[in-house]
């Protein structure tokens, strides 16, 4: 099914200070948020049917004044809109916990592994970083004690996703039952300092394959992109946004900016241009299909991948992690076909994207069975 991620982006400047942040935190223009304008935009988008869930994002939402955080929760609840929040947990208080429980806020935490792997997160001062890491562990425990479920976004770098540290990462995921999304770090346009930590496509592929084995041993972990890419091959939709032919100028993500304007996916903020274009287009993917991605076996389930990862930082080009996407899909295809030699996969169907994904049709799915029925029986 086609989906749009909807972000309520309160600020760019973030007090956490992670080393590889792709937001230009020196951008002084984005400092204050106007909640009235932001909700006005939200309401106009609801009328167009573009929202059913919102994610509070940007600048660590738990660092907002608590009265603003409460007001935002109340306003979304009043509109029957489900809320998610992405946070480092660095500013978690008991009041936040009460609000998270009261409004059933879906929490996503930003963590790259146990403290020794999580080194690029948090303040750059070593002493402050030590405190940050300890707080993070205790705050994860607080969430668990309060029976608050959470997911995570982990950024894969050379530090946590190669060599022995990759073993440690996999152990941590299995032991802590991390329901995570594992994205490759990419260096933003304005800052090349972290380029030495960017994974090569081969390294990224290997990391994803290792995480696949963790997922295989732990069927209850909805780990991304492992599960998503398996589902993509099985024709059960197309996720995540990076493989759905995002057009960069309009993106698969609506971001309500602090001034009430509508912006693109926050990955695009790296180039310094925040607002979205007025119209969307599939031109990038259409052109890639006939040029750089011509004849690719996994075109239907990749689409050139995230434009924010474009080769030479040029979003018109395919992802610089192309070989990782190709290699991982290739690995998964062999695994699936090894178990199910007669299965028909999405890549066996010409124009799967147009004929199935855009028409919200699923391939290996019993069409007379609803999703909830299926889950009950499972």
């Amino acid at each position: 099914m086609q989906f749009k991620t909807n972000l309520f982006y309160l600020k760019i400047k973030c007090p956490v200070g992670c080393e590889y942040c792709f937001e230009d935190t020196n951008n002084e223009m984005v400092q204050k948020y106007d909640l009235q304008k932001m909700f006005k935009t939200f309401d106009s988008m609801i009328r167009k049917g573009e929202f059913n869930r919102i994610t509070l994002h940007g600048g660590d939402v738990l660092s907002l004044p608590i009265e603003d955080f409460r007001y935002i929760c109340e306003e979304f609840a009043r509109r029957n809109t489900g809320i998610s929040a992405q946070t480092s947990l660095a500013f978690l208080t008991d009041e936040h916990i009460d609000l998270i429980k009261k409004y059933h806020i879906g929490i996503g935490i930003s963590v790259d592994g146990p403290p020794e792997l999580n080194i690029f997160r948090g303040p750059r001062d070593p002493n402050l970083n030590k405190i940050y890491q300890q707080n993070l562990l205790s705050n994860i425990n607080r969430l668990r004690k309060n029976k608050i479920p959470f997911g995570s976004i982990s950024i894969l770098t050379k530090h946590n996703a190669t060599g022995e540290n990759l073993d440690k990462l996999c152990e941590w995921v299995a032991k802590e039952k991390i329901n995570g999304r594992f994205n490759p770090m990419f260096t933003p346009h304005f800052d090349n300092r972290m380029v030495y930590q960017e994974l090569t496509p081969e390294e990224l592929k290997n990391a994803w394959i290792r995480l696949y084995y963790v997922a295989k041993e732990n069927p209850s972990l909805p780990m991304s992109p492992v599960r998503e890419f398996i589902d993509n091959l099985l024709g059960l939709g197309l996720k995540s946004c990076v493989v759905t032919r995002c057009d960069y100028i309009n993106t698969r993500c609506n971001t309500i900016l602090p001034d009430g304007g509508i912006g693109r996916c926050d990955r695009c903020f790296q180039d310094g241009y925040y607002y979205s274009s007025e119209n969307s287009t599939l031109n990038r993917s259409e052109i890639l299909k006939s040029t750089e991605c011509k004849g690719c076996r996994y075109w239907e389930v990749c689409g050139g991948a995230c434009p924010g990862e474009g080769i030479d930082k040029d979003y018109r080009r395919k992802s610089r992690f192309c070989e990782a996407y190709y290699g991982f899909y290739s690995f998964l295809e062999k695994e699936i076909r090894g178990l199910l030699p007669n299965v028909i996969l999405s890549i066996d169907i010409e124009n799967y994207y147009d004929e199935y994904f855009l028409k919200e049709r699923k391939l290996n799915w019993p069409h007379d069975m609803g999703y909830s029925t299926y889950h009950k029986r499972r």
Partner: protein, 275 residues
Amino acid sequence: MAVIPCAEMMPIYGRIDLQQKRGARSKLLDETSYETVKRDLRPAAITAIPNRVYDLYMSRLAEDGMFFYPFYKVKMTNGFMHNEVPAKLDDPSSFTSGCITKEIEVAKELKRLYGIYRNKDSSKKTTKDADKKIGELLGYPDCCCEFYSHLENYDPVYESALGGDHSFFNSELYCLNSDPALFQHLRYFGINITPWFPCSYSCKESRRRSEVWFNVMKSLNLQLAEEILNLLKKPSTWDLYNGQVLITHEDFLGYVTSYFPKVRKVVHFNQGDIK
């Protein structure tokens, strides 16, 4: 390949007005084009009139001592386009393309030349001659008409830059000693003063005529005209790769569909000599 012609702009934070004023800028450029004929600064102008305002436009032309001579109907498309798509006669959302002028002979000649220009069976030489004559009737400088008639592609931003002072760094062209009033690489967003491709961005005759055009523009909307010129004066880069132009301007990012050159073409404006 199903590439849809488009021209989109994404402003920096706090400059959403650039997107909102796009219509106003385009209208000012249309009005300037109209006024230059009305004030006898050139013989004719090409325009496309939406069907819904056709009657109103005809009345206005008559009151100003001009008339509209229709050539053909084109479809309404979203944004800037390099190839006009023909429309059916009864398509209510189409435009009628043609010229505005005071002289019937000029109108007839322009229609004849456009017929040659649009006819795929015309020889290269005939098309080039027609192209050149069209430019002259539209009041563009002779040197620029000659330059344009020899071009092979439909978006000669790069070729105009090659025609003047420039330097290369990493195969990217830096445009030097240029006059922003002649720039055409932001025209997709209604940010230009003159409508023709100059033989170089420092062409003397184009400069002279651009002053006349800018004065007309200022007489219609001083503030917006100066805003357009200020946008043209800021550093920007035009980057064409695989049929897509990326325009990186201090105040916005632009995305436009274009033609497919064999190699990537990049032009830097108002950025001095990188060497």
